[in-house]
Symmetry: C2
Subunit: 367 residues, 2 copies
Amino acid sequence: MELIKDHLLTPALVVDLDRFDRNLSRMAAHAREKGLTWRPHAKTHKCPEIARAQIAAGATGICAAKLSEAEVFAEAGIRGLLVTTAVIGRLKIERALRLARIAADTIFVVDHEQNARDLSDAARTAGLTLNVALDLYVGRRTGIAPGGPAVALAQAILRLPGLRFAGLQAYAGFVSHVEGFEQRRKASLEALAPAVETRRLLEQAGIEVPMLSSASTGTYNIDSEIEGVTELQPGSFLFMDLDYRRIGGRGTERFTDFEMALTVLATVVSRPEPGKAIVDAGFKAFSTDKPYLPEARDTPGVVYGFAGDEHGRLDYSQAGRELRVGDRLEFFPPHCDPTVNLYDRIYAVRGERVEAVWPVAARGMSQ
Amino acid sequence: MELIKDHLLTPALVVDLDRFDRNLSRMAAHAREKGLTWRPHAKTHKCPEIARAQIAAGATGICAAKLSEAEVFAEAGIRGLLVTTAVIGRLKIERALRLARIAADTIFVVDHEQNARDLSDAARTAGLTLNVALDLYVGRRTGIAPGGPAVALAQAILRLPGLRFAGLQAYAGFVSHVEGFEQRRKASLEALAPAVETRRLLEQAGIEVPMLSSASTGTYNIDSEIEGVTELQPGSFLFMDLDYRRIGGRGTERFTDFEMALTVLATVVSRPEPGKAIVDAGFKAFSTDKPYLPEARDTPGVVYGFAGDEHGRLDYSQAGRELRVGDRLEFFPPHCDPTVNLYDRIYAVRGERVEAVWPVAARGMSQ
């Protein structure tokens, strides 16, 4: 029997394949046009099937936020992995070696000399060579200070046996959601200037820099204009969400470069008062880390409010229609990545037909 | 080799078994003393192992928030299930019948006559009898209006073949977190008065009411004083969290009836600036639905801030000690239920020793 949307038990995570396909093609075309590699961030989708589609569309591989996430992709046959958080501690380093045995081209990031030494010792003992990139501090999160400290760490890496210097990562997460294209452009250029300068200093010191990986969905068409950036690592563009939609595009109030492709399908399970309906999707069905509420996709005037772990409360008094127990509605999530991380599968839908069921194989892999 | 806390890859979800055991014993003693049944809410822990421990301590069964959650517990051999959200739609009703075949004493809730008819039709066709309780609307979430409408629905259930009337559920979730014991007591008494009155009306109409299930962790010792309440369904008391700690107890500023037993173990992965450290636990490691931040358990002066999906930023400038890359810290989560729902397992720890690893078997089961 053909699977259709009406057969799905709710809450269910749904991707609109027409929109998804267009989002993927647009990013592929952008990277091609700019002559850059792109290594989309798989922390957004956590699905090997989607990683394969990205690589088929021209991506050079994928980024994984954590080691355990990268392991899932490596075991599924995905290559070209960049693990964007440093691998700290003996136990994780042992697993990094196992990962490198499966997927030799994996790149690990380092921002701390002791960690480089630990990786080197372990790699040498195992008879392996690990690819390591410098994680540069461009504000707010992880990384080594750009300039002198980064050059010194690169030189240390070059001296250490068992390590191969793979270049630079400079990810300015806090810039991604700056509202207004021009403000965002200014913030990203400022944040990345020290990274570009570090690249120049390394080259001046005779060190080849094969990669400078940067950019989020919010800066994909900003960082791609920066001389010295070689690679884009956006993630959310595939699905989009309410948090990205509001940031504004080049000359547009909303960010419409990519389409809102991800929804949560929910069912009205109770109608306790006139004009009020309760759906079966609450804190465990949507991200809650942003100050936005889920938004009904095809039902204008329906206002969602959280009603605890398991429920949402809809005010449909302005919707011009009744909602009844059993009605099914789709909602855009506030933030795509943590929403996906709540589900075991994504239903890939075209019209009413479910064309594929993608296991979120790396769900929960935050280690 | 003995598993110790130091062996865990982080972020890891950890329960302090000494505290957990005391929390469990305290609730068991309270229910015994009051002569009430207790059916703890398993949406908090989602672990069959914990459900078994609760039943061994005297619980009459467990509550499950949704059908798919109940299925996991039934398949693990747990009996005495109460599914606290109505089962709506043909597909879910078919699965409810399958569940009732496995665990015949399961109780389903109903707040809508058409749903009662649908359950009756399906049960009759299958040759089964389903236990159904009325879900009463005591404010903000699901349920049928108390009083006349509830009595009419109970009478309809009694007339419908294939259904057995199991009593009442009256859950006032919005009362659970009212700050101050006296204010909370007042709010709960007000919210539940119509439920108690409905019970009286049903008995007046000659309808036996075997159960009135109510109470959260915040009202366990309030609702147990209400004449007519027969059963408590608290969940969070086992683990506790920052959101419950602040509500205050009987004569205490903090709610200390139960101990803070649940933590997330995280590792410092970067120290990009003096006084600042980045840990590997962010939006995907902690609940984010409450306006509280994770709190360091044994490291006073360390202040946690979210730094995106995968990271947290610690300010340790007031901690009187250094934090170094590789240091491991434990944090109390803001809200236990949605935190547990992010993890595949709970490490049950006594001192440094991991005594058990409990699969969060119903994780993600929100359907």
